[in-house]
Symmetry: none
Subunit: 235 residues, 2 copies
Amino acid sequence: MHDTPDIASIAKLIGDHARATILMAMMTGRALTATELSRAAGVSKQTTSSHLSKLVDAKLVVVEQVGRHRYFRLANHDVGTVIETLVGLAHRLGVVHVDTGPTDIAMRKARVCYDHLAGDLGVLVHDSLRQQGCVRGDGRELTLTDKGERFAEEFGVDLAALENRRRPLCLACLDWSVRRPHLAGALGAELLERFFALRWAARVKGTRVVLFSAIGERALRQRFRFRESGPALAR
Amino acid sequence: MHDTPDIASIAKLIGDHARATILMAMMTGRALTATELSRAAGVSKQTTSSHLSKLVDAKLVVVEQVGRHRYFRLANHDVGTVIETLVGLAHRLGVVHVDTGPTDIAMRKARVCYDHLAGDLGVLVHDSLRQQGCVRGDGRELTLTDKGERFAEEFGVDLAALENRRRPLCLACLDWSVRRPHLAGALGAELLERFFALRWAARVKGTRVVLFSAIGERALRQRFRFRESGPALAR
DNA sequence: TGCATAGTTCCATGGTAGTCGAACCATTCA
DNA sequence: TGAATGGTTCGACTACCATGGAACTATGCA
């Protein structure tokens, strides 16, 4: 009992305006980049970077690296609970609006992320496969189930060839516009190849946009049916 | 961003070691004098006075004047909730402020945590209720089962009255001597009241110790039977 | 390849806030 | 009335730390 929990050091971290705003912005559950957070907090990137490293050191926040982006989010539910009770105590309401990404609608809908499909449709594919029990897994690495193997083969993917490569077959890649995972890895890349081969979609030259034809999108949505509503939200 | 609840200024107040210790000392629910608090926090009276006036200004703490004494206590239950969640988070993160001092055996055995029972016996009550299927739940919030309701009514708790309050009925509060949860929330507080009413136990004046009589402890252990291995105590 | 962007580190600066000594006021009690 | 105790105010010292400018690394894109 003389081992008093050090609530002061935690509270001190929250007790700075910039950091509090950063944490509040993360309360949406979405992962945000340092730049977005710096805008939200209204301080420079250097300052934000310093704040974020403190929050990460204290394990209040975790970070996930995707290319040159680093996505930050609350480390666990307890952190959210603390913020929540603090907000309750402050008995006021307010939501921080953060500008998330480009306004290019086509980019948001479907684009290339390295070599696989990202954007709304990429997320749809991922969610569909997960919901149908084709892939499983909590973290970044996903496992392809038996059902998933059958699905892939039916779709014309040569799994044996893919497995020969060193590359992981299935990975969850965090989408920067939707902030929810889409399918990466060897299989993710191969699926995109199939979409092109089937003439469902084509790349728009000079950009990363993937343009689906009306027929192609309909075919995609049919193949990757999504039986409703709340896709288990990324945490 | 300018209308967001100002959680930073609140957290900043808690984010100082002396003030955090003061607030923790008040978690017993007792009103304490400035001098007592200065001893608890280990700072001078002037410093304590300055801290207290800040806490009062911010309405986290209220003061009651009695003669030349001024009794300070937490302003309301929300403040206690914030501290409680912070303690929970601190433990999850494993940050404890080690303060060398005599280990008071009585405190470890049974003490008041804000307004409910903590210590070995508090943990025993929690574990018993859980093992008998009276409460369920993984996180901080627990649910009272039908069986639990019957148990509480039999024990003389007026559940209907408790449910009328805003306060959550059952919460798991992490014990910082035993590192295991005990029962908090409205029911936790009410149970402690019953223990006092039944004359099983009494508070030791001026401390947070709850002293059970031999008869009282036997009665408690009988009522909250705990089948199987004793509480695995580290240390 | 060259350019733009994301993000970090280093550093100087200025403000804020925790601390206690000393003096002061208020209450109680002998 | 004087002494003791509870508690606050004032002022000075000090340490911490949030901040952004500048320079730097790394990644992605055309």
